[in-house]
């Protein structure tokens, strides 16, 4: 199989998983689309070497995360957007819950958000998460811990945690 065939097969097979992670990182499906495509394009020059070691997925994911972390914030950065909803009532449906989780995720700083997504959505180990983020395992632990703390305190998810505590 040539590098081109391998690359194309990888894109076909793994893009949906990458885009689901990217959607959690960016909070925007269109941006997620762009992020994954940008990461794949950046991954191509070293694809032959990476494929030889079988590390295509980890490599693509690492580029995706570092690209996301490097993207400057949108032009409305000075607006301090506040998408989280302090007055959310009972969780009425799966769609509402998904919305609340996404809002809570977006309130996290990017590195903490990336750590949570890699650890708990992509099911990477702490070491794999550290590799993807380009940091130490200790940093992954602290970032994840802080992120979970913030999610726990987030008003949009208050009902979720109360329900869990009540069970």
């Amino acid at each position: 199989m040539t590098s081109e065939d391998d690359f194309t097969a990888f894109v076909v097979a793994r893009q949906r998983a990458l885009r689901r992670s990217a959607a959690l990182l960016t909070g925007d499906p269109a941006l997620a689309h762009d992020l994954v495509q940008t990461a794949l394009i950046k991954a191509w020059p070293r694809w032959r070497q990476v494929a030889a070691s079988g590390g295509q997925e980890a490599y693509a994911r690492r580029i995706m995360v570092t690209t996301h972390l490097s993207w400057r914030r949108r032009s409305w950065r000075k607006e301090s957007p506040s998408e989280a909803l302090p007055d959310i009532g009972a969780v009425a449906s799966d769609a509402d819950l998904a919305h609340c989780v996404r809002q809570a995720l977006l309130s996290l700083p990017r590195r903490q958000r990336a750590a949570v997504v890699l650890r708990y959505f992509d099911d990477l180990t702490e070491q794999q998460t550290a590799d993807a983020l380009g940091c130490s395992v200790g940093t992954v632990k602290s970032q994840t811990s802080r992120a979970l703390q913030k999610l726990r305190a987030h008003p949009a998810l208050a009902d979720v945690w109360h329900e869990e505590a009540a069970r």
Binding site: E4, F7, T8, V11, V12, Q15, R16, R19, R20, S21, A23, L24, D28, P29, A30, L31, H33, D34, Q37, T38, L40, I41, A43, W44, P45, R72, R74, S75, W76, E79, S80, P81, S82, E83, A84, L85, P86, D87, L97, A98, H99, V101, R102, L105, S107, P109, V116, V117, Y120, F121, D123, L148, L151, R152, H154, P155, A156, L157, V160, E164
Partner: protein
């Protein structure tokens, strides 16, 4: 909050990613980017740039409709991967061409290629082209407060709207006209809108309209009672009674 519960919530929140990327287009864009970088590193290639007249369509987000096609180093750009004839493309930007024009079934089409996701829109020659596939995105902000008091008392709804949008109005307790403007970011130029929504809080509906007033896209956004800016610059939510 158990690990299992966090995993469940994230799976719940992971949206359906939508239409797939075109793997062939991604590979083509990747090869083009690699080749361009290689050339830029040491080769003073003399590229005969052929300026091709653009199809007569208007695409508000893209500032230039004429472009380059078929330069010697990128000869395959004269034809798209699936065999369609390439008419024109916008000038190459940092990470590759953003837009190509071609003819399909006798209609002029523009397609956004890598590094953004492929999106296509077509129109009969001479007619206005609107990229209806561009999503409508809206968020709310403010009033914002910091430890010293009021930082920004304006409550706003803003975002980007489909290209060609004549106006965006926000339906809540009242209707607000939104100011539309063009701005560029790392994803190219987009049509943004901004509306100050006074005292209305709760769910607001945002609609993007075309020149004839037809609704192109609709979304909802929550206007918040107030938000606080923490020491780290991140917004902190406070319940409404605590608003100054």
């Amino acid at each position: 909050m158990s690990d299992t519960h966090v995993r469940e919530l994230l799976r719940e929140a992971a949206a359906d990613p939508g239409p797939d990327l075109d793997a062939g287009a991604v590979l083509l864009a990747a090869k083009r980017r690699t080749r361009r970088r290689t050339a830029a590193a040491g080769f003073a290639a003399v590229a005969a740039v052929i300026v091709v007249a653009a199809p007569v369509v208007s695409l508000p987000e893209v500032p230039t409709l004429s472009g380059i096609a078929g330069s010697p180093e990128e000869g395959e750009l004269g034809r798209l991967p699936d065999g369609r004839s390439l008419l024109a493309q916008t000038p190459a930007q940092q990470d590759g061409p953003r837009l190509v024009g071609y003819v399909r079934d006798g209609r002029n089409c523009w397609e956004v290629l890598a590094p953004v996701s492929p999106r296509t829109a077509c129109a009969p020659a001479g007619e206005s082209l609107v990229r209806t596939s561009e999503p409508l995105n809206a968020v709310s902000s403010g009033p914002a407060f910091n430890a010293d008091g009021v930082a920004d008392t304006t409550r706003r709804v803003y975002g980007y709207a489909p290209g060609g949008t004549a106006k965006v109005h926000i339906i809540g307790g009242r209707t607000y006209e939104a100011r539309a403007y063009q701005a560029g970011d790392e994803h190219g130029s987009r049509s943004y809108f901004l509306a100050e929504v006074g005292d209305d809080t709760g769910t607001l509906t945002v609609e993007a309209l075309d020149d004839q007033g037809a609704v192109l896209a609709r979304t909802q956004v929550m206007a918040l009672p107030c938000s606080w800016i923490g020491a780290d610059g991140q917004p902190i939510q406070r319940p409404a009674p605590e608003c100054p």
